[in-house]
């Protein structure tokens, strides 16, 4: 792999097995705006060729982090390397694409003129631009609209134009900040397909999103951010398999039987005749059932649930209380200053319902 020798991280760890080359590597990134700390401490590693989901509620510091990585904001503290180069290196910038969150461009330009301008900024030759512009327009589903002025584009079309702009230089690493925020469900799916296609071409994608479903469907690796802190990080698989909840329908229980159960995992919910136990490994389930039967407890039903990313997310963002269920219950009855999805004014039940609609975790 030629890429290996290019990254500093691989060189820096000479002697050990070469780590997978990193597209992004940050250590203790921090950004203060006066009194306010937008980003406390972000330490992440994004391997090349992966789709990395930066997931968090509104105001968590996702955009600020990306701005620091792109040189739009100077970090108050911490350091980062992008494509093996320090922040702000022009060489790395040549191979980076960025779709900003608040997508605003010079709306009086025609679509093609706009792309031509950005192509020039990337340093593409006239021939390259002439070849590349129709290509990216087609890719984002704006084929044939290049002659229209951006002013006449709908919000969704503008977002597509922004995406086209980010892909003009066929970057090695592309940052997408809430790329589907202005899109309808069909548009969202198209963007997901584009992201998958980019990954298939070996591109690294850094996806900022507060949409669980989006992250869950396209990302290889996820970092969950909350109030400026990275609270969870790992491959999607690792996050989802970290634990599972097992619903048990049981006959009469005595204290001894309860203690038995607690040897296998924490009891996260309990009603008459029904329990929910948080366990680490599905292989433990038959053993638990066996132990219950031995203890003389009647077992009527055992239903293991993988925790969905939503559970992991809510757990992480709410500070991982021991009871996920009660967390959800809390969301329902205590309107926190900012809801789980950063909808401060909407009544919490709406937040919950949205969560269930967007993320049918049980389908997985």
């Amino acid at each position: 792999m030629a890429q290996l020798t290019r990254t500093e991280s691989a060189e820096g760890e000479a002697g050990r097995l070469p780590a997978p080359p990193l597209a992004i590597e940050t250590r203790g990134l921090r950004k203060e705006y006066g009194e306010q700390v937008a980003v406390h401490d972000v330490t992440i590693a994004v391997p090349r060729g992966e789709v990395f989901g930066f997931l968090g509620p509104n105001g968590a510091g996702k955009s600020t982090t990306v701005k620091m990585l792109l040189g739009l904001a100077f970090p108050t503290a911490g350091e980062a390397r992008i494509l093996g180069q320090p922040l702000g290196a022009v060489g790395a910038k040549r191979r980076i694409g960025f779709l900003p969150e608040q997508f605003r461009f010079h709306e009086w330009l025609r679509g093609e003129e706009f792309l031509d301008f950005h192509g020039q900024l990337y340093g593409l030759s006239r021939a390259e631009r002439r070849r590349r512009i129709p290509e990216v327009l087609e890719l984002v589903g704006l084929g044939g609209r290049g002659r229209d002025r951006l002013r006449t584009y709908s919000k969704g079309m503008l977002q597509r134009a922004g995406l086209a702009q980010a892909l003009l230089n066929d970057p090695a690493l592309v940052f997408l900040d809430e790329p589907t925020s202005a899109l309808d469900p069909i548009g969202r799916r198209e963007v997901r397909d584009i992201i998958r296609a980019l990954k298939a071409r070996g591109m690294t994608v850094f996806l900022n999103s507060h949409l669980l479903s989006e992250v869950e469907t396209v990302c290889d690796r996820v970092a969950i951010v909350d109030r400026g802190h990275v609270v969870r990080q790992g491959t999607l698989k690792e996050l989802l398999q970290a634990s599972l909840d097992v619903d048990l329908t049981l006959g009469a229980l005595d204290d001894a039987a309860l203690r038995r159960i607690e040897e296998y995992g924490a009891i996260v919910a309990r009603e008459a005749g029904a329990l929910s136990v948080r366990m680490d490994d599905i292989e433990e389930v038959p053993r638990l059932v066996d132990a219950l039967v031995r203890a003389g407890v009647a077992v009527y039903g055992v239903t293991p649930h993988r925790r969905s990313l939503e559970d992991v997310f809510l757990g992480a963002v709410e500070g991982e209380p021991s009871e996920v269920r009660s967390t959800q219950y809390e969301v329902r009855i205590h309107p926190a200053p900012v809801g789980a999805f950063g909808l401060p004014h909407s009544p919490p039940p709406f937040v919950l319902r949205t969560a269930y609609c967007v993320l049918p975790g049980a389908q997985r």
Binding site: G71, V90, K93, I96, Q120, Y122, Q165
Partner: protein
């Protein structure tokens, strides 16, 4: 040169500001008034010269039409200078702060170009526009002097025609 890419866009954008066309309109009014005023001054001067001539004082020894024209052209340039200043302010004020605020810079700053290229490009774009404006206005004033008084400024005021 990335700065030139920025300059070209800045130039085009500047031409889109309504204020600019307001100043241009004002400038056309100015040139028209200037031509009219110049004609009045010329006629007055020629009348006065003729009156003096009739009294036997001969044509103005010191105060020639060229001398009057020099003053008029100077006044014209002075006004252009002022208008160009107004134009510069209207065109360029808050341009960078504005682009930071609206967010158009968010897609431009991460591109492979240095900050100074962005600033220099902005400067060149506006400088180009103001230069074009000054050139046009100066041409208007000079043509007026030529047509009204047959006067063309010379590089040295001592040289005789």
């Amino acid at each position: 040169m990335k700065a030139l890419v920025i300059a070209r866009l800045t130039f085009r954008e500047a031409l889109r500001k309504r204020m600019i066309w307001g100043v241009v309109l004002l400038s056309i009014v100015f040139v028209a008034l200037y031509a009219w005023g110049f004609t009045q001054v010329r006629d007055e001067f020629l009348r006065e010269a003729a009156r003096q001539g009739a009294r036997g004082n001969g044509p103005g020894q010191i105060l020639t039409l060229d001398f009057v024209s020099t003053i008029m052209v100077g006044l014209g340039f002075y006004t252009i200078n002022f208008l160009a200043g107004v134009m510069t302010i209207f065109a360029a004020v808050g341009t960078i702060a504005g682009e930071v605020e609206t967010g158009t810079f968010q897609a431009i700053v991460p591109k492979p170009l240095a900050r100074w290229e962005l600033i220099v490009g902005k400067f060149l774009g506006f400088a180009g526009m103001i230069a074009a404006y000054i050139a046009l206005m100066a041409t208007g004033v000079l043509i007026t002097a030529r047509v009204v008084a047959g006067y063309t400024p010379r590089t040295s005021c001592w040289r005789r025609r």
